[in-house]
């Protein structure tokens, strides 16, 4: 990744829960960088720490070790003003389009709200125009959608509203946590295409969190595989998926539904699920480079 300076970077960030005697690392020594106009996918199963990474970026958690760098500057426990500026630069799209919108408010209200908070200069007419522009951007008809309530929209339409809401404050980074997992396959692609378009048109840096590796391949230039709080393998998406080096990545890939492979042709990895899980969960500070943009943290036994 030898392009422009990253917009947002995590530098050896750890998040620890539990007491001193029995610490649980929800994130361990996590480092990655988000660049303008690029998508980084974070894949892993539930409990692997994907959402913890998102929460660290959204400042819902403070890192216990390491730091976040925003445009190169460390982000400490800064003052309210800086936090607000950060929040308008870094926005999130949530998994559940049914619970992430307020059922008691219209779509227009949902989109005007961030504008009221973050762009105080606008008058009512300007705000309305801004909402219309946002809805057009996410390919919804403002005249039809603005007065509606969330329950009157489909899941895909609601997810478009969530994206419009995130875009309302002109962010530079969008964190999308499983944005399509609750949608039907036929509408998923539309949302993924929309995220892709926004990335290209607005130069956004996207962190796409998912357990669906096929969609990660569709949207992301780079990919990271997370297990037990550690990023075990990362690099260019094609390199990681075509030439996976970490046993856990291979296990995960062998379990992904793939119509080209009958179930009876099980990979060797499936016989050693427990071993791979146990070994991969051990802390590992060594990093091995596979190719120019492809790295793993080898399992301890492989040393």
């Amino acid at each position: 990744m030898s392009q422009s300076a990253p917009i947002l970077a995590l530098d050896k960030v750890s998040k620890i829960f539990g007491g001193k005697d029995k610490p649980v690392y929800a994130a361990r020594d996590v480092s990655f960088a988000l660049h303008s106009g690029r998508t980084l996918a974070l894949v892993g199963e539930s409990g692997s720490g994907k959402t913890t990474a998102a929460r660290l970026i959204m400042r819902e958690y403070q890192p216990d070790q390491g730091q976040l760098l925003f445009r190169g500057a460390p982000l400490g426990k800064s003052d309210a003003q800086a936090v607000k500026a950060y929040r308008s630069s870094v926005q999130m799209v949530f998994q559940d389009p049914f619970s992430s919108l307020n059922p008691a408010h219209t779509i227009r209200y949902h989109l005007e709200r961030p504008l009221r908070l973050h762009q105080k200069g606008l008058n009512a007419a300007q705000r309305k125009a801004a909402v219309e522009e946002l809805l057009t951007r996410v390919k919804l008809d403002p005249a039809i959608v603005m007065p509606k309530y969330p329950h009157e929209l489909s899941g895909g339409q609601r997810q478009r509203i969530s994206i419009a809401r995130a875009l309302a404050v002109n962010p530079q980074v969008i964190v999308a946590d499983e944005p399509t997992s609750m949608l039907d396959v036929s509408v998923r692609l539309g949302i993924l295409n929309l995220l892709n378009d926004m990335k290209a048109e607005l130069g956004l840096a996207l962190l796409y969190i998912t357990h669906d590796i096929a969609t990660a391949r569709y949207v992301a230039e780079d990919i990271m595989v997370m297990y037990a709080g550690q990023i075990v393998e990362w690099g260019a998406t094609d390199s990681v998926l075509e030439n996976p080096q970490h046993p856990y990545t291979r296990l995960l890939l062998s379990a992904v539904p793939d119509p080209d492979r009958r179930f009876s042709e099980a990979g060797a990895e499936l016989d050693q699920v427990e071993t791979i899980r146990r070994q991969s969960a051990l802390p590992q500070s060594e990093i091995r480079q596979i190719s120019e943009n492809h790295f793993i943290r080898p399992m301890p036994e492989e040393r």
């Binding site: 039907d184 096929a214 119509p259 179930f263 499936l270």
Partner: protein
Amino acid sequence: MTTPVLSVRNLTIDYIGAEKDFSAVKNVSFDIQPGELFGLAGESGCGKSTIAFAVSRLHRPPALIRKGSQILVDGRDVLTLNDEELRSFRWREVAMVFQSAMNSLNPVLTIEDQFYDVLRTHTDITRAQARERAAELLKLVDISPDRLSAYPHQCSGGMRQRIVIAICLALNPKLLIMDEPTTALDVVVQREILQRIDLLRKQLGFAVLFITHDLSLMVQVSDRIGIMLEGNLVEVNDAQTIYRSPQHDYTKRLWASMPKLHGAQITREAKS
């Protein structure tokens, strides 16, 4: 010609509304042969779960099965069974694993008691025999019999799902209905469970009606697949044909909207 385990004929199910009825299943017919794994795929609201519920007579008003519909299990029409017949039919002939099956275990009973509950209701079995049978069934799904004394909350989601499957197999049903059995689980666990099911059905000879929205997964495990769209069964074919040369336009569109893991990527104009 063997008698199909399940033979659905002209099944029409409406949800009765105050103003107008919603037609959920429209004149659907298909067969499942003994030992076959038949997949029913489609998007939310296409009627696939409605069919699953109807086959085990678990549908409730406002769902109404229209006259002329037939659901034959081993040649016997399920829709004409009385309450007593229905009680012995469920579990013994057809057992069902629900989407949230791992949450359908009783939280205040041990695993052993949950097996005993089913076995005692349907057979004349002693406590000791039930315990032995339960241990045997747990081994089938690769769980140690020590777990019999555990409560559901002490088991992982994947383990609970396997326990439910073991309970479903307790009375050797001819047909196991699985409605999105692994949707709430991770892919690695999902794969372990489905491989186990595949092995068991070959070993024990039961047929499976497998319902999911994940078409890739379905092609991997099923013998034949039916594709549903808005209550209609639009295509039924063997799994490889559904994947390699889908006949119906909707099946083609479904494939065209699914990003691929390997090889040439789908084009973006597929559907938006």
